[in-house]
Symmetry: C2
Subunit: 335 residues, 2 copies
């Protein structure tokens, strides 16, 4: 039987499952709805549904697979303890859910690993993606919020408590935009799907006399990152300014990130990363501008050029089911 790892990506709306081989091929996949956070569904019941769906996947009419481990990415997951703790977007916002232990009851004697989605993406990048030959790199996930997986010396940084790597909650502007975490000015309030919308409305609030813009024709509730990106692609100057400002903030945060761990590359992953050069170019410009000289390139004469050594790249997993791959890589990585 073909050996596979069950990769699980617990999202706010859907939970995806995939059987992944050692080369990063997803041989079978499915999904179940994640229960709404008002549903009252218990964690034990959700894990039961999840594992039953996995058994169905495992025993295909044409082929059965040998599952050799389970890797799951979930919000607020703690790798060290195997828990999902106080996850605001899941039905257990006030609980410490023993997620790995619950899964383990369905897969006895197998390794079961749990981590947050950004850490899973980082391990996926290392095992299957653009970081195969790298020991020091960072993956930034740009979705509703901003997550980060930091790899140092070939290993994920978990910190003393399993919760390290919350670059989205670096305070960039003391007293700035209100954040879901209860504080203000966090990076993710500026750089994320939500942050992009807010910046669109900030730009409109500042530029009353600057003419027509597609942004002016849509409500806060209706506007999406894709709408703003489409407008920018059409040359809408306000939409372009939104990406310029977003990249400026992200580039500064990445320059600061380099001053911590001096990574070989930083990979952008997730919905916003799909806007490609619209976000990448202003981010690179700002990252170069704000980079400490120690981390800059030198020209043929040995003189410093104000350009970062650290590469800024899109994740190689952007167009694949990267979160499922990353979750499975948690187990394959340690084989």
């Amino acid at each position: 039987m073909k050996k596979v790892v069950l990769g699980v990506d617990v999202g706010g709306t859907n939970t995806k499952l995939g059987l992944v081989d050692g080369e990063g091929n997803i041989l079978a996949e499915s999904s179940i709805p994640t229960p709404a956070n008002t549903s009252g569904v218990s964690a034990a019941d959700f894990v039961k549904q999840l594992c039953e769906a996995a058994f169905v996947l495992q025993h295909q009419p044409s082929e059965a697979f040998e599952v050799i481990g389970v890797g799951a990415g979930a919000p607020n997951a703690n790798y060290s303890k195997g828990t999902v703790e106080f996850a605001a977007n899941l039905p257990w916002p006030h609980e410490v859910v023993p997620f790995a232990a619950l899964i383990q009851t369905y897969f006895p004697n197998l390794p079961v690993k749990v981590t947050n989605d950004a850490n899973a993406a980082a391990i996926g990048e290392k095992v299957y993606g653009g970081a195969k030959s790298m020991n020091d790199f960072v993956v930034i996930t740009l979705g509703t919020g901003l997550g980060s997986g930091i790899v140092v010396g070939g290993r994920l940084v978990y910190g003393c408590d399993g919760f390290a790597g919350e670059v989205g909650h670096i305070i960039m502007i003391p007293g700035g935009r209100l954040c879901g975490c209860g504080r203000a000015g966090c990076l993710e309030t500026y750089v994320s799907a939500t942050g992009l919308k807010q910046t669109a409305f900030e730009v409109m609030s500042h530029r009353y006399f600057s003419g027509k813009s597609l942004l002016k024709a849509i409500s806060f509730n209706e506007i999406t990152p894709k709408y703003i990106a489409d407008a920018a692609q059409q040359g809408d100057s306000m939409a372009l300014e939104v990406f310029e400002k977003t990249g400026e903030m992200l580039g500064l945060a990445l320059a600061n990130t380099v001053a911590f761990s001096s990574p070989e590359a930083i990979f952008l992953y997730g919905g916003l990363a799909n806007s490609g050069d619209l976000l990448l170019e202003p981010t690179r410009k700002s990252m170069n501008k704000n980079m400490l000289k120690n981390y800059c390139k030198r020209n043929a004469h040995g003189q410093i050029v104000q350009e970062a050594n650290t590469q800024l790249r899109l994740s190689h997993l952007c167009n694949k089911n990267g979160a499922v791959l990353g979750a499975a890589a948690l187990v394959w990585h340690e084989k």
Copy 2:
């Protein structure tokens, strides 16, 4: 013969040498002047003086020591390459000096390690100080500038190029105070001996009508951190505000640092750290206030308390020759 490591601390004014045993005792020590950066002394000549002074130490009239390795802390040192690169405060600001290789010629066949002073302080804390049982911690050195040594999973973070850990050059205030690195708003322009002086003058510039202060009686050239600390100890309200503001900025930066690597403790080391509670208390207050809830304590009912899990402590090496100990620990650590 007693086995010792030669620990070297290359400072801007003096270079200290010590013979250090495995328990962190300095069995013999001396120092030589560091050549001024206008002196024209070559790196080779300086290393010759240094090693000759070491040989004198090694062969005491009463006892001879067996040197089993050399560890040196120096500004702008690169651990991976053994170099000192473009060090603005040494006589070779435009050179990549092969520092370890030069020392090696005097100590053939022995391990020779070079790193920056903050990394050396971090290793010293791990081997001899308060971090003996810790795998994740950060040491912040507060001198003329602000340095940092970041330990993750028991190992120093060097990054892809040997230059990681420049927390002093995190940009805190875009467009803020001008920094020696050529950029603006770096943490060390606010939190360092120099930053403290600048903050004293900023406070005076804002508070003309707020009465007498010892700060008003001294020039920018003459004021020292000790003068400001002495004034604060006497209850001088402006001097107290200087420490309050300095701690507020440092606490915010440390809360951001925790969001990277979630260390068990952060140790403050160096001149400014000697001001003790004057700096420690406002720093702790700000660090607690700005800490992401994930990294906060819980009370007996499991509710989050706005207080950091990460301990803020003074270095255990503050009253010892920590830089020499740390440099020697570079070699002992790998035994």
